[in-house]
């Protein structure tokens, strides 16, 4: 059945899927806003809960913004494979003969563009609310730009494992948060170092290394997880 | 501050946790065997 060589190249598969997912996401534009609104609400809850003291907010700003980014990502992760799983497209992908790893990578890229990139773009507003010093804003955006793809990548493994469960979303957070701990630690350390005027490039280097490792390894694990869930 | 209550508490908690972890399969096995015997008895009755 798949004996003849596929007429579509690997990059053709990747971009076709990317375009498809982005198209599907943009058809429901209001749904794109949910994680964004969630992010804004969560960050604004912190001053409301802790008090508006500017120094305190400035000190906890990197952690708060990053934790809100983690929560927003986990909320949006479930939609990564869910709709394809429910209408059977995912099984079609598995038997299509194209590498499931590549398919996963394409879907994760689409997910990041839709869910992770808004976090990076909204960062100045969040920094304003949390009274983050202006010098560290650039570093914060950089850590988010490097870190949110890793969140999507590692999260996709969790989604792949829980996709066949009815309440998969709840278990997903438990599975995925311990794996997010290093990124959180390194990213917030970078921003806090920048706030204090200390060198921070080593943390950015670690984040970049994490990104490269995740991009190369996570899609394999996500594909294996999907194969197990669909079996 | 005397250290004895802390030492005592930690040893008690640890013993309790490890004892529970060790005994859980024993109790579950008894329950399982009872279940299986009951099921077998029901099947023998119908045949």
């Amino acid at each position: 059945m798949n004996q003849e060589k596929s007429s579509v190249s690997l990059s053709g598969v990747f971009f076709a899927l990317l375009r498809r997912d982005l198209l599907l996401a943009f058809r429901r534009r209001t749904e794109l806003l949910f994680p964004v609104i969630f992010l804004l609400v969560v960050v604004s809850l912190f001053p409301l809960g802790i008090g508006p003291g500017p120094q305190l907010l400035a000190r906890i700003a990197p952690g708060v913004i990053w934790i809100a980014a983690l929560l927003a990502t986990v909320i949006s992760l479930d939609g990564l494979f869910r709709s394809d799983f429910e209408d059977g497209t995912l099984e079609q992908f598995v038997i299509s003969g194209h590498p499931l790893t590549l398919i996963s990578l394409a879907k994760i890229c689409a997910h990041w563009l839709v869910a992770g990139l808004p976090i990076v773009l909204l960062c100045p507003l969040l920094a304003l609310w949390m009274n983050l010093p202006v010098e560290s804003l650039g570093v914060l955006m950089l850590t988010l730009a490097l870190g949110t793809p890793v969140l999507s990548l590692i999260g996709s493994i969790g989604v792949g494992l829980t996709i066949s469960l009815k309440r998969g979303g709840q278990l997903l957070s438990l599975l995925v948060f311990p794996l997010y701990v290093p990124i959180l630690i390194i990213a917030t350390a970078a921003v806090m170092a920048a706030s204090d005027g200390l060198p921070y490039t080593q943390f950015l280097g670690l984040l970049t290394a994490g990104l490269i490792t995740s991009v190369t390894l996570a899609p394999f694990a996500a594909a294996a997880a999907l194969k197990i869930s669909l079996s | 501050m005397s250290h004895t209550p802390f030492i005592l508490a930690s040893y008690l908690i640890s013993t309790a946790v490890l004892l529970w972890a060790a005994l859980a399969p024993v109790f579950n096995k008894r329950g399982l065997l009872q279940q299986l015997k009951a099921r077998q008895a029901r099947m023998d009755k119908t045949q």
């Binding site: 350390a189 | 802390f6 030492i7 930690s10 040893y11 972890a21 060790a22 299986l36």
Partner: protein, 261 residues
């Protein structure tokens, strides 16, 4: 070649390979481990009793910490076990995923609750050790924080395994999660350790210096004893799970019939 010479020239099977092969069969594994488990418990009890006697009564009080260092005989071995069990769970998970051996899946899944129990013990004993030595019950030092994250990893594996209905699929999914967690575990460990030095300045290490032999030997004995505990507990849990999964099969029916007599 005649049949006789063919039989004589047949290569002798390696005994170890045969043993491992036989262990893959549930009834054989059940019987063999059933004989092994009481011995493991017996040696564990005697070794632990001896180690605790040495550690609690014979070792002198610590110069800096007084008597509370005796909690170390619980905290350190259980922390070592929590890490070792996670590693063995991940290795068994890898073998189970690649070679699809059911016994190995069962063993990997039965390791998780034991590992979680040891992690709980490490957390509780560490917390109670912290109160007299550092003043608070909970302190975000590197070891306790790593243990907490490890507990979450264990709970994730147990939760995922229990959430999926079909046992073999559940085991495979949880094994994959265990492997992913194992790959992340060193990263988590080092990042937490480094985060701790970043925020606390001087490290609050307890055994940075050399440790006196009379304090060290009970610690090592406890470590070995805990490994025996793990072996005994793991095998008894694995036996139970095999019974549960195979309850329709012939060997379990025969076993039940024999027990009823």
């Amino acid at each position: 070649m005649t049949t006789e010479t063919a039989i004589k020239n047949k290569p002798r099977k390696n005994a170890l390979v045969m043993f491992i092969h036989k262990m893959g069969s549930p009834p054989w594994f059940y019987n063999f481990s059933g004989k092994l488990v009481p011995w493991l418990w017996a040696i564990f009890c005697s070794l632990a009793a001896w180690a605790l006697y040495l550690g609690l009564f014979k070792a002198p009080a610590d110069y800096l910490q007084g008597e509370s260092f005796r909690i170390m005989y619980l905290h350190v071995p259980s922390a070592w076990m929590s890490m070792m069990i996670y590693t063995s769970m991940a290795i068994m998970g890898f073998i189970a995923l690649v070679w699809r051996i059911r016994i190995v899946e069962v063993l990997a899944m039965c390791s998780a609750p034991v590992g979680a129990a040891f992690t709980l013990v490490a957390l509780a004993s560490g917390s109670l050790w912290g109160r007299p030595t550092w003043g608070t019950y909970w302190v975000w030092d590197a070891r306790l924080t790593s243990e907490l994250v490890l507990l979450f990893l264990y709970l994730g594996v147990i939760g995922l395994y229990n959430a999926i209905d079909e046992p073999r699929k559940a085991a495979r999914a949880a094994c994959l999660l265990a492997i992913v967690g194992a790959v992340n575990l060193p990263i988590i460990h080092y990042s937490v350790k480094w985060w701790n030095t970043l925020h606390q300045g001087s490290s609050i290490g307890t055994s940075g210096n050399s440790i006196h032999p009379s304090m060290l030997w009970p610690l090592l004995y406890m470590a070995i004893a805990f490994k025996l505990y793990y072996g005994a507990n793991l095998l008894s849990r694995a036996r139970l799970k095999l019974l549960k999964q195979d309850h329709r099969k012939r060997w379990v029916q025969d076993l039940l019939a024999k027990e009823n007599q």
